[in-house]
């Protein structure tokens, strides 16, 4: 089964971050508080679904779909 990422989530859906598949991107995401084990929730999407806005550890981050796709989640 293919791994799901944050980019696959629907608005309002929650998930737990498991790992990252892109080292360079993961450094930035970690510093912004996207930690393995943290819960994320998509809170809205820009027109056409890109970029997306997600809630993680109590604040809101926006990122492109391609960036969100590097955050893998538990199924």
């Amino acid at each position: 089964m293919s791994k799901r990422s944050v980019a696959d989530l629907k608005i309002g859906e929650r998930a737990i971050i498991r790992s990252f598949n892109d080292q360079l991107m993961s450094l930035k995401l970690l510093e912004m508080g996207c930690l393995p084990g943290a819960e994320v929730c998509i809170h809205c999407k820009a027109p056409l679904g890109d970029p997306i806005c997600l809630n993680v550890s109590g604040y809101c981050l926006s990122m492109r779909r391609s960036e969100a796709a590097t955050i893998l989640i538990d199924n």
């Binding site: 080292q23 930035k28 508080g33 820009a46 027109p47 806005c53 604040y59 926006s62 492109r64």
Partner: protein, 725 residues
């Protein structure tokens, strides 16, 4: 315009600890973006703050005095907001460059780390990194009221015990807790207390690498040694040999920087979680969307999001054009009255002429645009302050990406409407090199406030003042059309540049969306005051100088050309009334002057665009700064129309100007639109070219900018004139 911010203070100072002998200790404010750093900075320094540059780089540096006791005035330096000590853009680099280099002139005696209490976890990441670098710190716990509203209680005493540093509760918006902050800073200055051990000690995992680095570079601090290893390519204070030495250390220990950095971040967050479990009581309900999030659903909505953005832009143009009008009229007539009075009261002569036609005409041309600039910066500051600007970046990212830009390019492009110089400086937050370069190259196509005077006058000449739909006036819409033309040409140019400039670098767009806030009116006020002040002073000085030079050039000619011209007119036109005769004389004299010679010299080049030699003079003089155009026109036409028109304004003078070939009005719609289009595209601003040169560190890009924009301007103005006439 807005010529480069010059570093206003630069003291040669120490790298040693603070002693009581020194009168100006340096206090740096550090923190995450949106943690309240600038609020605190404004509270501490108020109107005494200065904007300058950090030495060697063109990052805006805000600093100001803060009296901490009877004898001592500290210098507070506001550092750019960062999420960690590992920089992701040029702006962020400066923070690491200063804090890792005790020899840096801005290296702080005490760093005040401003922390958002409602977001403690992520804010403490940066805090623990800074404390680990060995800088004496004070933790300023801000936004406790927000945390409380979210049902979080932060225990400052426990936090101080766990972190081993002084913690002060403040409210940067209201100024509460500043006395305690001052006490804590003074204590840290006199006897610095550092945490007993590092929060994260790299030697626990890579002891030999750290020991080796410390030995080779005479470092005392383990974490600083780690920064040397990981970041040495970015540190401007290391030379080539030192960098090579660090490269070989990395090779020797087979050290993987990204892996170590990732594990550092995760370890820090784990330890921070322990601290927070001890010091914070969190009773946040899990599933409750905040009003900020509900607002986001509307502002980022596929239809409403863009509609609201478009409406806000329209509002800005209405404000600039319609609402500012009464203020401008008042200033305009005030200057005209003063000019008339001076001419009556003072004895006739060249000095009076210089004062009225030269200097006062020039100053009037500047002052009249203060209302528009104030309105523009007021509204932009409101958008920034409220948090709306980052929503605009989100909805625009996808569109911008198509044109080789980035959601973050929206801020430079919108600020470009005010002035291209700060806008180009604002591109530093764009982490990707190519996105940033393209943004820099196209930003000057956005119509800046210096073009506004030209637009205003020419539109008022040829577009009727009519209301449509009862609300928008036709002149406002014409103005908006010119701004849109600038925007679309910027986007198209970006698209072309995207095809030309290939790059393998990845583009990033991870960004925090701040919660919506009520604007801090003192910040808004400061922004407006600063922009008006720098317009009047920086641009004003240039305009004034050029007005005076121009007056001289227009009043004197080579040899006795001007006398001959005058005598010729008086001989030939004996039958004219005195008034007509004086006008003829004045305009013949102008034509024979130095300025007239210059104008005639370039007339063949600009004739196809519909311009005569008088406009030629204005074009030439505005080459260095386009806002000079209007001042020049005022000077030329007040000289060229005799002495009997006291009290008329530049607009009336232009309207009454006749075309000597046709006998009709000189300023036909074809000519006015050709000029308007020319100024939409033309790169007539030395300050912008200088900013591009500084930011790209090459002469190639400003040259590219100058050439492509000038070509665009000439061709577009030519087409406009030929089609309309």
């Amino acid at each position: 315009m807005w010529p480069a911010y010059q570093a206003e203070y630069c003291e040669s100072r120490r790298g040693t600890a603070y002693t009581n002998l020194k009168t100006s200790p340096v206090i740096a404010l550090v923190g995450n973006p949106n943690a309240g750093k600038s609020s605190l900075f404004n509270q501490l320094t108020g109107l005494r703050q200065k904007t300058g540059n950090f030495p060697g780089v063109t990052v805006d540096k805000k600093s100001g005095p803060w009296p901490i006791d009877a004898q001592t005035e500290a210098i507070v330096v506001d550092l750019p907001g960062v999420y960690s000590i590992y920089p992701k853009s040029l702006d962020e680099q400066i923070v690491t460059d200063i804090l890792a280099n005790p020899q840096h002139p801005d290296y702080p005696d005490v760093a005040v780390v401003v922390v958002d209490a409602s977001n403690l976890r992520r804010n403490l990441l940066l805090f623990t990194q800074i404390a680990d670098l060995g800088v004496p710190v004070v933790l300023a716990l801000n936004m406790l009221d927000v945390a409380k509203k979210q049902h979080q209680e932060v225990n400052a005493v426990k936090l101080a015990m766990r972190l081993g540093v002084p913690v002060v509760r403040i409210n940067a918006r209201t100024g509460e807790g500043l006395d305690q902050l001052k006490k804590a800073v003074v204590t840290q200055l006199n006897e610095p207390t550092l945490p007993r051990q590092l929060f994260f000690d790299p030697a626990e995992q890579v002891g030999e690498l750290i020991a080796d680095t410390k030995g080779s570079y005479q470092l005392k601090n383990n974490y600083l040694a780690l920064q040397y290893v990981i970041q040495h390519d970015g540190f401007s204070f290391l030379d080539q040999q030192q960098r090579r030495g660090l490269d070989s250390i990395i090779d020797r220990y087979r050290f993987s920087e990204p892996e170590f950095q990732a594990s550092e971040t995760i370890t820090r967050y784990q330890r921070i979680a322990d601290v927070i479990a001890d010091a914070v009581v969190d009773r946040r309900p899990i599933d409750q969307p905040t009003w900020s999030q509900r607002l986001d659903r509307i502002l980022l909505h596929p239809v409403w999001g863009y509609a609201i953005f478009a409406f806000i832009l329209l509002l800005i143009f209405q404000a600039i054009f319609a609402w500012a009008q009464p203020f401008m009229d008042a200033i305009d007539s005030g200057v005209a009255w003063l000019n008339g009075t001076l001419k009556e009261q003072l004895p006739d002569g060249p000095l009076t002429d210089l004062l009225t036609d030269g200097i006062l005409a020039g100053i009037g041309g500047i002052l009249v645009f203060i209302p528009q600039i104030a309105f523009l910066f007021f509204l932009i500051a409101l958008l920034e302050e409220s948090g709306y600007m980052s929503r605009v970046m989100v909805i625009m990212d996808r569109i911008m990406r198509k044109f080789g830009l980035n959601g973050r390019s929206v801020v430079p492009l919108i600020s470009g409407v005010a002035c291209a110089v700060p806008a180009i400086m604002a591109t530093r937050s764009i982490g990707t090199r190519r996105d940033r370069l393209i943004t820099i190259l196209v930003t000057p196509l956005m119509s800046c406030s210096a073009r506004l005077p030209i637009y205003t006058i020419l539109i008022a000449l040829v577009v009727p003042r009519q209301q449509i739909f009862g609300f928008f006036n036709l002149q406002g819409l014409a103005l908006m059309g010119l701004y849109l033309l600038g925007l679309f040409s910027a986007l198209l140019s970006a698209y072309v540049l995207k095809l030309v400039l290939r790059s393998k670098e990845r583009s990033f767009f991870i960004m925090e969306l701040p919660t919506f806030k009520l604007p801090r009116w003192n910040h808004v006020g400061l922004t407006v005051w600063e922009s008006v002040r720098s317009f009047v002073w920086e641009a004003g000085r240039v305009i004034l100088a050029i007005s005076v030079v121009l007056w001289v050039l227009a009043s004197y000619g080579p040899g006795d050309d001007m006398q001959q011209a005058e005598e010729r007119v008086r001989r030939q036109s004996a039958g004219l009334s005195t008034e007509q005769l004086e006008n003829q004389v004045a305009s013949q004299r102008l034509e024979a002057s130095y300025a007239g010679h210059f104008g005639h010299f370039i007339e063949p080049v600009i004739k196809p665009l519909g311009y005569d030699w008088k406009i030629g003079i204005a074009l030439l003089s505005s080459f260095a700064a386009r806002e000079v155009f209007v001042g020049t026109m005022s000077t030329i036409y007040s000289i060229g129309s005799g002495d009997d028109d006291d009290g008329t304004t530049i607009r009336e003078r232009l309207r009454s100007e006749r075309n000597p070939d046709t006998g009709g009005p000189m300023y036909t719609p074809a000519l006015a639109f050709s000029l308007l289009i020319f100024y939409v595209f033309a790169m007539m601003c030395m300050s912008t070219l200088a900013a591009t040169q500084r930011e790209t560190r090459s002469w190639k890009w400003p040259a590219v900018q100058l050439i492509y924009m000038s070509a665009l301007a000439y061709v577009a103005a030519f087409l406009t004139y030929q089609v309309l006439s």
